[in-house]
């Protein structure tokens, strides 16, 4: 077992564990924190896969910006108490069952996809994930969506203003 593999398993386990912890934490703040752990482990994966740019962006955007925003809102609403009303257990059970079924179906679907069974994800090599390469593509092939996503931001901005501003 190489270091990469050990790291892989560790990060995977961490990601899954923290993801589950996001769900079962009673306190929303804990959930946020666990989610940040998930993001960190995913970033770890990115680094394993040599996608440094994304790893950094993930940390900055998600763990940094988005989650802080979440935390901020939670704090703002004073939701850190763990008195969230619970769904009744039947619904919960149904939810878990549905999730598990979905997982089963997806996994079995992927397993029956024969053409990728031999494929490997290349670890620790390749330079497509470097900021230089990605930047080049982003501003050549992907310049149109890049520009267009600005519209998305504008609308989000306008929207947030419209919605959140007190009248």
């Amino acid at each position: 077992m190489t270091a990469t593999e050990i790291l892989f398993w560790f990060l995977s386990a961490l990601a899954l564990f923290s993801a589950i912890m996001v769900l079962i934490s009673k306190n929303p703040v804990h959930s946020v924190l666990w989610l940040i752990v998930v993001f960190f482990s995913i970033s770890g994966h990115y680094i394993l896969l040599n996608a440094q740019f994304l790893a950094i962006v993930n940390l900055i955007v998600y763990a940094g910006a988005i989650m802080v925003l979440f935390l901020f809102v939670i704090m703002l609403m004073n939701l850190n108490s763990n008195n969230e009303p619970q769904r009744n257990s039947l619904i919960k059970l149904a939810g878990v069952v549905a999730g598990c079924l979905l997982l089963t179906v997806m996994v079995s679907a992927v397993r029956s996809a024969g053409e990728i069974s031999k494929s490997q994800a290349v670890m620790n090599e390749g330079d497509i994930g470097l900021i230089q390469n990605l930047g080049k593509i982003l501003f050549t092939d992907y310049v149109v969506p890049f520009e267009i996503s600005s519209v998305l931001f504008l609308s989000a901005m306008v929207g947030a203003v419209v919605i959140a501003k007190k009248e």
Partner: protein, 112 residues
């Protein structure tokens, strides 16, 4: 690493996200679970971008940059997610202002 490991990992994270959406009532947590789902997709895409065997891509011009499009896609997902978060949190705040709750079942006037 076999790509299947990544797929299964991503699927598992995705499904955990789904379960979270299903079993929690706090809108913010639900939203976080959705973010979790998006992240699992991101992970999967990055893994695919590094997949050795990409079947039947006839586009030679992209040959040098095989896989980079997936990473760009991830980038866009993050962008969109950020935008979504701002709107989503705004909506949740608006709701909280009106009813002082973030329970999704609290507002239940629209039904049947």
């Amino acid at each position: 690493m076999p790509i299947q490991y990544y797929i299964i990992l991503a699927a598992a994270l995705f499904c955990i996200g789904v379960v979270g959406v299903l079993i929690r009532r706090n809108a913010i947590i639900i939203f976080m679970c959705i973010e979790l789902m998006l992240n699992s997709v991101n992970l999967l895409l990055v893994a695919f971008s590094k997949m050795q065997y990409t079947p039947a891509n006839g586009n030679k011009s992209l040959a040098l940059n095989i896989g980079s499009d997936a990473q760009i896609f991830v980038f866009f997902i993050m962008v969109v997610a950020a935008a979504e978060v701002s709107v989503g949190l705004a909506i949740i705040v608006m709701m909280y202002r009106n009813v002082h709750s973030t329970d999704v079942n609290f507002l239940n006037r629209l039904k049947n």
